[in-house]
């Protein structure tokens, strides 16, 4: 072992493997140890890094005559030495097989969807047509919060949720309803801090009322299966179920409190 590690070929292979482990796994798991977020690298970047490392290694083994000769020697031996017949045969068989496999792997049809960018929370319009009326979404508050009994509204919302929503969004509001696995995009989890907790109630109202068909372009390219509930529910029904969602998920809606200032763009 020690002998191999002193040989340029052995050293090169060691460095190569170490570099691969570092790039493939080190980058994913090491930064979190010191509290920095990380993620796996795309294969295109891994390939790019590995090629750079390989080129670097080749330069290293060949920039000195002695090292170069030593580096080539085992390969040369495998190719010509009569005693290395087995190794030679394995090599000559394995190399084309490897190439064949890589080629196959690259051209084989896959079900992977084309690369696309989907915005999960596309920006809402300023106003919508709701059942023939125009509703201004900007600054819109949930009218039920200032009217009637909160408990009654929650009770009503719960009833509506279990009649209409539970099949997809699930019992625990975690997006794990019975049908959820069949959809792309999957139904949202309301437990997630990234969903309704980030939105004003008016945005949630817009999403419920208009559903998948009302998503703007950037919400594509996959059609959300969410129905446009304005065809089935009344305005108060929707506001009630929204109250229920926030209550049950334990989030509070984003408010209009930080009223938009006068900056913004041209």
């Amino acid at each position: 072992m020690g002998k191999h590690l002193r040989h340029p070929l052995g050293q090169s292979v060691t460095v190569l493997v170490a570099a691969y482990l570092l790039i493939k796994f080190g980058i994913v798991y090491l930064p979190p140890l010191i509290g920095i977020a990380s993620a796996p690298l795309p294969s295109s970047v891994v390939l790019q890094y590995m090629i750079t490392v390989i080129v670097g290694l080749l330069l290293w083994v060949s920039d000195n005559e002695e090292r170069w000769a030593k580096f080539k020697q085992p390969m040369h031996r495998v190719m010509v030495d009569p005693e290395q017949k087995v190794a030679r045969a394995v090599l000559l068989l394995a190399t084309p097989l490897l190439v064949a496999f890589v080629t196959f792997d690259r051209v084989r049809p896959s079900v992977a969807a084309p690369v696309s960018f989907r915005s999960i929370h596309p920006a809402p319009p300023g106003q919508i047509d709701f059942q023939g009326r125009t509703l201004r979404l900007t600054g819109l508050e949930n009218p039920l919060r200032s009217r009637g009994s909160e408990d009654e509204h929650l009770e009503e919302g719960k009833r509506i949720y279990y009649q209409n929503c539970v099949a997809c969004h699930g019992d625990g509001l975690a997006g794990l309803g019975h049908y959820s696995q069949g959809f792309n995009p999957v139904p949202l989890s309301f437990q997630d801090v990234g969903t309704i907790a980030q939105l004003t109630e008016s945005v949630v109202f817009w999403r419920i009322a208009k559903g998948g068909p009302g998503l703007p372009n950037e919400g594509g390219p996959w059609n959300s299966a969410m129905p446009a509930w304005e065809d089935f529910l009344s305005e108060d029904d929707i506001w009630a179920v929204i109250m229920f969602l926030y209550e049950q998920a334990g989030h509070s809606p984003r408010t209009w409190g930080e009223e938009p200032g006068e900056e913004g763009g041209h």
């Binding site: 980058i27 920095i36 990380s38 690298l41 795309p42 295109s44 970047v45 750079t52 060949s62």
Partner: protein, 589 residues
């Protein structure tokens, strides 16, 4: 690096274009027979289309032009070393450079003529527009070209006749004049193409070209940056091609004497190329700033718009250059007695370079499949995304320049044993300078993440200044230390493994390709304008093609260039045969 033109607009360096042709056309153009021609804006070129036709013509012309401008610069320097250093070797080298020049010169003119013919026939409207502004400079161009040619003939054919004493000095003066004429010719042609990039702000589509002030059009915003950038790039390019020529002669050499000569010549060519390459990014930075200054929109197209991926390719090519250039030096240490001392350190420099290349080529937006994007949570990597921005890249390239410079230093120092008393202290100071410089570069690189973009842009200036200052002061110390140094043994010229010579070929090809690429960038940012925001390209080829297509055209141009160069050198070799050595080499390629 500079040129070539793609898209709608035809650039035309029109290098050393056919004189008669230029004169004739400019005389005729402003009002006479071209009147009907104006109505006809474009003509198509069979098969490849007019955009590609003019692209190839301009680029091959430019490559030859860069070569015939770069080579005289160091031919003159080599001759000076020969005269004042009393070293016949350099004089012989200078003459050999010039011989290459002579044969490449006519090819330059031929391609210049092809370019102007194509421009006149394919883009008559643009041609007329430009002649209305630039006619006087075109006449001057023709005249200077004439002077340049005859200076070159005198310079080369008078070499042996004016070989001694005063006559030799006069001969050297001819070499200087050759450079002056050549550079002026280039400046003139540069003004035409930079005008197309950055016409003065008061020129609008309604401005009659006859009303455009000549001088304001001539000395436009990007003219001087391009001049400087091209002068340096020409030196780099000339050095690289000479290196490749020497490498070829080395490989086919039959005697040790020949091998030693061409090994040395290849070394000098490479030294010149890499040395000039180190300052080239600074010129490029200046050009980039001027482009932004002139039109932020144009700068944005270049750096962030549809050309943004081009910089990944550029990073890749420059990574190849750095690695190959250093590799050649390291392999070369094998022939220097005393270099063994430094050999163990090359691997650390290699590690720095590889890390530098990795950082420099890390894309900001990564190419990834849907699943990979999901895993990353977007196309920006949460951890390595920080390497995709300017701060990281500037830091990487400055460190790479510093490392390359260190390689040179070790190479220089390899067979010397300093005799001055303060040699140790001096070396320490050099080391400290390196460490401090690297510290400054890295500090600003990291600090750049914590400030706004506009402050960050300023940081790259500090980084660059630190590197330049270090290079100059370290060289100054090194020269002083080396004074009267003892030799550890003569360099064994010629004892070089063959693979190092192939590295020189890779360098030459990469430089050439990189010139093609950056020319595509420079010309392509005009997009669908012949003259930016003044003369619109309304032909069917108005759009700038994507990089993949461009890379094919660039490759074709590079191959045409090398094919012709090989032929020309072969022809030159036939004539020189008896001179070089008694044995005679069978040129051929």
């Amino acid at each position: 690096m500079s040129e070539r033109l793609p898209s709608g607009a035809r650039r035309w360096p029109l290098w050393l274009g056919g004189i008669g042709l230029v004169t004739l056309l400019t005389l005729v153009s402003p009002d006479g027979i071209l009147a009907q021609e104006i109505s006809r804006s474009y003509r198509d070129f069979p098969l490849i289309g007019s955009r590609t036709a003019i692209w190839i013509a301009a680029e091959v012309h430019l490559l030859f032009a860069a070569f015939v401008l770069g080579v005289p610069m160091f031919a003159v320097v080599a001759e000076a070393i020969g005269i004042f250093g009393k070293d016949r070797k350099y004089d012989k080298l200078a003459k050999e450079f010039t011989r290459l020049l002579l044969v490449a010169y006519s090819a330059t003119a031929i391609w210049g003529a092809i370019l102007s013919f194509l421009l006149v026939t394919l883009y008559p409207r643009l041609w007329v527009y430009l002649t209305q502004i630039f006619a006087p400079s075109m006449w001057a161009y023709a005249g200077l070209f004439f002077l340049e040619s005859f200076t070159l003939y005198l310079y080369y054919y008078g070499w042996d006749r004016w070989a001694e004493g005063r006559a030799k000095l006069m001969h050297w003066g001819l070499g200087i004049m050759l450079n002056v004429f050549g550079t002026t010719v280039m400046f003139i042609a540069n003004s035409w193409l930079t005008f197309m990039m950055s016409p003065p702000a008061d020129v609008t589509p309604d401005t009659s070209p006859a009303m455009v002030q000549f001088w304001s059009a001539f000395a436009n915003a990007t003219w001087m940056p391009i001049n400087i950038h091209r002068i340096i790039a020409n030196v780099v390019f000339g050095g690289a091609i000479v290196g490749a020529y020497a490498a070829y002669r080395f490989l086919i050499a039959e005697t040790d004497e020949e091998r030693a000569h061409y090994d040395w010549m290849g070394y000098v060519g490479n030294l010149i190329a890499i040395g000039a390459l180190i300052v080239l990014p600074f010129a490029g930075y200046y050009l980039g700033r001027e482009i932004y200054e002139y039109s932020p929109g144009m700068g944005q197209t270049l750096m962030g718009g549809f050309m943004s991926w081009l910089w990944i390719i550029q990073a890749f090519l420059i990574g190849v250059l750095f690695l190959t250039g250093n590799y050649y030096l390291w392999v070369g240490m094998g022939r220097i007695p005393g270099a063994e001392r430094f050999m163990p350190y090359t691997k650390y420099m290699l590690i720095v370079l590889v890390v530098g290349v990795i950082v420099w080529a890390t894309p900001h937006t990564m190419i990834a499949s849907r699943a990979e994007i999901a895993a990353m949570g977007g196309t920006y990597h949460p951890f390595l995304g920080v390497l995709g921005v300017m701060s990281a890249k500037n830091t990487a390239v400055n460190i790479m320049i510093l490392t390359t410079f260190l390689s040179f230093l070790l190479y220089r120092r390899a067979n010397k044993e300093p005799v001055v008393e303060w040699a140790r202290t001096g070396t320490m100071i050099q080391g400290v300078l390196f460490v401090v410089c690297a510290g400054i570069v890295i500090f600003y690189g990291i600090y750049g993440y914590f400030v706004t973009a506009i402050v960050r842009i300023g940081f790259s200036v500090y980084q660059v200044l630190a590197v330049i200052a270090t290079i100059f002061s370290v060289v100054a110390i090194d020269v002083a230390i080396g004074r009267g140094a003892k030799s550890r043994g003569a360099i064994r010229w010629g004892q070089m493994p063959e693979r190092s010579q192939y590295a020189l070929f890779i360098l030459a090809v990469t430089f050439t390709w990189l010139m093609g690429l950056m020319g595509y960038a420079r010309s392509g940012i005009r997009q669908h304008w012949h003259v930016w925001e003044v003369v619109r390209d309304t032909s069917e080829y108005a759009s700038t093609p994507a990089l993949g297509y461009a890379s094919q055209i660039i490759s074709v141009c590079v191959l045409i260039f090398f094919g012709l160069v090989a032929f020309i050198f072969w022809v030159g070799g036939l004539a020189e045969k008896p001179v070089l050595s008694g044995v005679g080499s069978e040129g051929g390629d």
